[in-house]
Amino acid sequence: MSIAPPIDLSPRLTSLDPAVFEVPTGREVEWRFAPLGAFSKFFQPDENAGFVAAESTSYVRNVDISELHSSWLPTDRPLAVARSSVQKAVVIDVPKDAEVLAPIVVKLRGSADTSYQHVEVNIGAFSTAVVVLQHDLESDICGAVVVNVGDGAKLTMLSIVEGNSKAVHISGWHTTTGRDATFIGCAVTLGGGFVRISPSVTYAAPGGSAELLGLFLADGDQYLEHRIFVEHEQPHCTSRVTYKGALAGPESHTVWVGDVLVRRGATGTDTYEMNRNLLLNDGPRADSVPNLELETGDIVGAGHASATGRFDDEQLFYLQSRGIPEAQARQLVVRGFFADVLSRLDNSIWRDSMMRKISIRLGFPEDQDSNDRA
């Protein structure tokens, strides 16, 4: 666990203009872990860059960026570069009082080797929906996912990042939950070479609930960063952050930063954040920095936990001593490690498919019929 620098309590700098943000040098708290060489391509606008689009369906549209009236403003330089340069946006609109049973699957594709992204997800009041954002990275992509969950609505958003192990990907999520709204946002990060995903949540009204889940797997020399920011300004809101990462060698590096800020007016807040990392062999590095700042003590609960551990050989011995071959025993342990995140995904199809992807990546044997009930 690294030493957490204090959270900057002043309002975050926001602007559409990239020039407002200094070019990162690596000394900034936000950039101290990141390999800037890879990410620097998104520090200056690229006039040859394309945009991210998706197939249009009943809920999904590709629109001109000028048609958007979103009030969201970028919070760092790459996001400002993307927002100020992107020509098109992908908009997912679910009207109010709708119960959308089937997941809305959105395959996001870049139109050029370097593409900017702007995705907006709007869930109308009292609606329920599941949105699956899929990035199968073929090229470099940088941009935002802006989410508005209306009053009393519930959104489960699953973001799956896979693909080219050299690709650079920056994705800033910004979610605003309405009164008594529920947001479950799960980041599954398996692919990409240099990935930085920063989910942030703010509450527009009391009674909101946010659950941020994450599951990542790094191997080779992948760099995967997840940087969470939850700002409690409204009373009686909850947040739960649960991120689990597995790392295989030889030189993979993961970073998890969980900043939770409870402002003075956010009485009755209930927040807990947790990150666990499992090192599958020697070589990888996992940085884990939970950080909680309370401006009021009048809350229900606040806590954080972080741990990074090596694969437990005693578990392996126990399973093997019951006849289970080593590869299958390892698979059971890794599956078990991810189980509490996966069990939060209501939809078992996605749960099983996530686990299958992880198994394939780690070279585990094919699933047996019953093991999906772990």
């Binding site: 011995f317 126990y318 006849g323 342990v333």
Partner: protein
Amino acid sequence: MGSLVLTDLYASVITDDGELEIIKGVSLVIESGTTHAVMGPNGSGKSTLAYVIAGHPKYRVTSGSITLDGADVLGMSVDARARAGLFLAMQYPVEVPGVSVSNFLRTSVTAVRGEAPKLRTWVKEMKEAMGALQMDASFAERNVNEGFSGGEKKRHEILQLSLLNPKFAILDETDSGLDVDALRTVSEGVNAFRRQSDAGVLLITHYTRILQYIKPDFVHVFIDGRIVQSGGTDLANSLESEGYEQFAPASA
């Protein structure tokens, strides 16, 4: 009829500071259908003996042999030993977070039997085995050994014993940490296993208490890495009244 044969076995524990010899020349023949109790004081190496037979990577056999029905056990991986018919009920069963008991048991039974049991008969088989050990059905949905009480852990070990039905079972201090009721239940589980199968059993224990419930055919006294005396149940009675001091090395 089969046999588990240990011949002049020497083994060391591997530590950061090097290797330390723990097992110092053990020879023992366990025939199918017989129960051997190995009794010894703390630190005598009797649990190490159990781990060495099961193949724990922390220990290295430096000389001697272990054979199961003539096959070389030391050449087998840990899981191959289990599939060959060895079972170790552990003194300290390991927690495996996120893996349910039912998933674990079915995976294990599938590996040892060589094919997946039919789902319908399997559920019935598991429930009956759990019922015999007075384990609630909800047990199957809990994570392996996570948050189990001492008694629950031991019941879970004996549950595996009954489902995996090994040729030879090693019970490492299965009695430790059990109250009288739990000891009786667990012992009855072991006895049921002995009645139903022709397995050989190696019962490792510090106390004679469990021998009131599980009657051994042979008793061996284990001191400082070797068997110093073998006999029948009368030997256990002598240990009960006079303790291990009578066997302490004269030079000590």
